[in-house]
Amino acid sequence: MATAVRSRIRTLKIDGRDVSAREDETILELAEENGIFIPTLCRIEGLSLVGACRLCLVEVAGMNKLVPACLTYATEGMEVFTDSERLRNYRRMILELLFSEGNHICAICVSNGKCELQALAQRLGMDHVRFANLQQERLVDMTHERFVVDRNRCILCARCVRVCDEIEWAHTWDIKGRGVDARVITDLDTPWGESDTCTSCGKCVRVCPVGAIVEKGRAVGEMAKRHDFLPHLAKMREAKK
C-alpha cells in the first residue's frame, strides 16, 4: 500500500482502568504503557512472540478461556483483568513447575541476582516448590571458546533459538526432543565449539533470561546481561528484508 494505514483507536478497561489503544497494540504492550505489571519470560522485545511461558495469561470478561496478553490485541469495550487471585496462583505454580524441572539452585549460579526467573519468583511470592524435582540430568557444553550452555538451568523459552534465527540469521540454535526431554541444541546436536554456523556473536548469551547460556570465567552472581540492543537490531533486520 502506498500510504500508511491509519490505525483505529480502541478504548477498553484494564484492571478497572480506562485505557485507549491502537488496534495493533497487544494487552501486554498496553499494560506496560500504563504501568501495569504482567509477568513474562519467553517474550523479549525485538523477537517474535511464541506465547509459550503462559505467565502473561490474563482474564477477559465474557471469555471463559484465559488469553496470553502478549498475543491478544485490544478490542473495543474489552475488560481485562491481569491480577486476580486465580492468575496469581497459576503464575506461582508455573514458576514452581519450572523450578522443579531442572537445576535452579540460585546460590551457586553465575546469574544469581541478575536472573529473570529468580526475580519473578521473588516478585510473585513463590516461597517454595511443592513438586519434587524431576532429577533430570542434561548435558553441559563447554566446548565453545567463550561461552557455556548449562542445559540444566535452561527453561526452554527459545529466546536463543529466535535471536540466532531472526537477528543473527545463523540458526545455530534449535530444540530437539519433546516434553521434558526437549532441550536446546547447537546445529544438529553437535558440540557448540565445533559449530560452523555459530558466529560467536554472543546474542544468545545476552537474551538468555537465566544462567543457562553464559560467558566463561564468570563467578557466582557476576553474569549480568543486557538486551537493549535487540529492538534496534530487529528494526534494521526488518528494513533489510
Partner: protein, 547 residues
C-alpha cells in the same frame, strides 16, 4: 479429462465384468485381519478356486474392514450373505467346495447378531464390500458421482449450503460445525488456499481413520476434492502417520488411479476445476494431530503448536487460508452431496447429526469397528453391539476420547452418544476410540497410563503441559504405589486445574481429563490408596520418594 457420463460407462463395464461370476468370495485385507496370515488366505482361496476349476465362476476379491476384528480373519461369500470367522489358509478348499453346496458350518459367523444389525453404515458403506485397490469398484458404488454433481450442477455456495444443512460436525474430536468451517475458509480472500486431511490418528485404542483409509480411500479423496471446490482450493494434503503403511499405500494408489481417470488433477470433469492431493507423513508425534502443529509439520518445521488466533481458516499453511478436517469428516461429504443435507440431518439427534464410527477395544467381546447413529446409548454400544465384557469381573467403565477424554461409569451407560452429553459427563466424543474396562482395572492406573501418554507426547513448548504432565504423572505414580497423602491428591487436583486452564494447545488443555473423570466417578479408589486420608495438616508424611 472425462465427462461425467464416462463414470456411468466405467460403472456398467465393471458391473458386467463382475456379473460373469456366480460367486464372490470377499477376503478382509485391512490391517487387523492381515496381521494374522498376511495375504495367505486370499492366495489360498485363489489357488483352491483354480484347483477346483472355478476361475470363470468364482471371484476372490480383497476388501476392506468388515468390522468384527475380534473374530478375524473374516471372509464373506456373496450371494448368500455368508460370513466366515477365524479363517485360516487351510480352510480355503473347504470354503470353495462349499460354495454351491452347504456353507462350512464350523466357520460360520452369525451376521444377524446385533453387532451387524444395529449398525447404520454411511462412512463405512463400502468397507468390506468393495476392493479398496480398485477405483472401478468405487465408481460402481456411486463413487465420484458426488464430485461430478458438485462440479457440474452446483455452485461452491450451494455445496457449502448442503454441508451446513446436513449439520455435520467435525469427527476429529472437537465437533466444530463443518459447514461453518467451510464457509469461513470460503470467505477468506486469497489466490491460494489449501485443503488438509488430518489422518494423524494417535489415540491409544483408536483405529477408525486407519480403517477408512485402508477400506475406502477414494471416499476421502472425493470428500477433499469437493471441499476444495467449495472453498476455492486447488491443493490438498493428507497428513498421515507413518505407522499406517497400508493406509498410505492404498491412498497413494488411489491418488494415482484417480489422476489416471482425471478425477483428480487438472480440469476435473472438464470443468476447469483443478485439484491435486499429496501425502505428507508424520513421524509419530501425537501432538501433530493438533492443527497448528500439523501445519508446521507439513511445512517442514518442528511439529509444535502455536497459539490461536489466528486460526487456520485465516492463516494456515504457508500463511494461506486452510481447511483442516479429519478423515471421517471428509468420508461423510460424498454421501451428503449425493443424498442431500436433509437426508443426513435425518440421522442422529437434534444437536449431533449423522453417524459416528467407533473403535471398540479393551475388555469387550466384539472388538472391532462399528458405525452407529448419533444418539445411540453407550449401553447399546457396549452391551448389545459390543457383546459385553470378556471377563467374569463385569463392566466397570468405558473410556471415550482417548487421552483427552474421560472414563464413564456403569451408572451413566444409558447416556446417548452425542457431543453435548459426553461433555456433560466430563468426557468427550473424541475421534471415536472406546476402551472398555472391567472391575479388574484400577482407575488410578488408568489415569496414570493416559498421563504417561500425554507426558511423553507433550511437545515441550509451554511449561504447564511440559512439566505439568510430568508432575501429574509423578503424583499419580506416588498415589498408585501407596505412598501418596491427601496433600498429594490436593496438589494433583490443583495441577489438573492449572494444566487445563493455562496450556497452549488442546493436548495440554485436555491432558487432565482422564484424571478428573476418574476422580469424579472413582474418587474412593484414590482415597483407598492414600497413606493418610484424614488430616490435611497431619504432622507426618511417609518417607517414600516422590516417584
Amino acid at each position: 479429462m472425462i465427462p461425467q457420463e464416462e463414470l456411468a460407462k466405467i460403472a456398467s463395464a465393471e458391473k458386467e465384468k463382475q456379473s460373469k461370476f456366480e460367486y464372490q468370495i470377499r477376503v478382509c485385507m485391512a490391517a487387523g485381519c492381515l496381521s494374522q496370515h498376511k495375504d495367505q488366505i486370499k492366495l489360498a482361496l485363489e489357488a483352491a478356486v483354480k484347483e477346483q476349476g472355478l476361475e470363470d465362476t468364482v471371484k476372490v476379491k480383497g476388501v476392506g474392514c468388515m468390522g468384527l476384528c475380534a473374530q478375524g480373519p473374516l471372509v464373506s461369500v456373496e450371494p448368500g450373505n455368508i460370513l466366515y470367522e477365524k479363517v485360516s489358509p487351510a480352510d480355503a478348499a473347504e470354503i470353495v467346495a462349499g460354495l454351491d453346496k452347504k456353507p462350512v458350518e464350523r466357520l460360520r459367523c452369525d451376521n444377524q447378531q446385533p453387532f451387524f444389525t444395529r449398525q447404520v453404515r454411511v462412512v463405512l458403506e463400502n468397507s468390506g464390500v468393495i476392493d479398496p485397490e480398485n477405483i472401478e469398484e468405487y465408481i460402481t458404488a456411486d463413487g465420484y458421482e458426488a464430485l461430478g454433481q458438485a462440479l457440474t450442477e452446483m455452485s461452491p455456495a450451494q455445496v457449502i449450503d448442503e454441508i451446513v444443512a446436513s449439520g455435520l460436525r467435525g469427527r476429529g474430536g472437537g465437533g466444530y460445525p463443518t459447514g461453518l468451517k467451510w464457509s469461513t475458509v470460503a470467505k477468506a480472500i486469497s489466490d491460494r488456499k489449501y485443503v488438509v486431511c488430518n489422518a494423524d490418528e494417535g489415540d491409544p485404542g483408536a483405529f477408525m481413520d486407519r480403517s477408512v483409509l485402508e477400506s475406502d480411500p477414494h471416499r476421502v479423496l472425493e470428500g477433499m476434492a469437493i471441499a476444495g471446490y467449495a472453498i476455492g482450493a486447488n491443493m490438498g494434503y493428507v497428513y498421515c502417520r507413518a505407522e499406517y503403511p497400508l493406509a498410505i499405500e492404498r491412498l497413494k494408489q488411489a491418488i494415482r488411479q484417480a489422476k489416471r481417470l482425471h478425477l483428480l488433477g487438472e480440469s476435473i470433469f472438464g470443468t476447469g476445476f483443478n485439484f491435486d492431493v499429496e501425502i505428507r507423513l508424520g513421524a509419530g508425534a501425537f501432538v501433530c494431530g493438533e492443527e497448528t502443529a500439523l501445519m508446521a509439520s507439513i511445512e517442514g518445521r518442528r511439529g509444535s503448536p502455536r497459539p490461536r488466533p489466528p486460526y487456520p481458516s485465516d492463516h494456515g499453511l504457508w500463511g494461506e487460508p486452510t481447511l483442516i478436517n479429519n478423515v471421517e469428516t471428509y468420508a461423510n461429504v460424498a454421501p451428503i452431496i449425493r443424498n442431500g443435507g436433509a437426508w443426513f440431518a435425518g440421522i442422529g439427534t437434534e444437536s449431533s447429526k449423522g453417524t459416528k464410527v467407533f473403535a471398540l477395544a479393551g475388555q469387550i467381546k466384539n472388538t472391532g469397528l462399528i458405525e452407529v447413529p448419533m444418539g445411540t446409548t453407550l449401553r447399546e454400544i457396549v452391551e448389545e453391539i459390543g457383546g459385553g465384557t470378556t471377563t467374569e469381573a463385569g463392566f466397570k467403565a468405558v473410556q471415550t476420547g482417548g487421552p483427552s477424554g474421560g472414563c464413564i461409569p456403569e451408572k451413566h451407560l444409558d447416556t446417548p452418544v452425542d457431543y453435548a452429553s459426553l461433555a456433560k459427563l466430563g468426557s468427550i466424543m473424541g475421534s471415536g476410540g472406546m476402551i472398555v474396562m472391567d472391575h479388574t482395572s484400577s482407575m488410578v492406573d488408568v489415569a496414570r497410563y493416559f498421563m504417561e501418554f500425554c507426558m511423553s507426547e507433550s511437545c515441550g513448548k509451554c511449561i504447564p503441559c511440559r512439566v505439568g504432565t510430568a508432575q501429574m504423572y509423578n503424583l499419580l505414580t506416588k498415589i498408585a504405589k501407596g505412598n501418596g497423602t491427601i496433600r498429594d491428591l490436593e496438589l494433583l487436583e490443583q495441577l489438573c486445574d492449572l494444566v487445563r486452564s493455562t496450556s497452549l494447545c488442546g493436548l495440554g488443555q485436555s491432558a487432565p481429563n482422564p484424571v478428573l473423570s476418574t476422580l469424579r466417578y472413582f474418587r474412593e479408589e484414590y482415597l483407598a490408596k492414600l497413606v493418610d486420608t484424614t488430616s490435611p495438616n497431619g504432622k507426618t508424611a511417609p518417607d517414600g520418594h516422590a516417584s
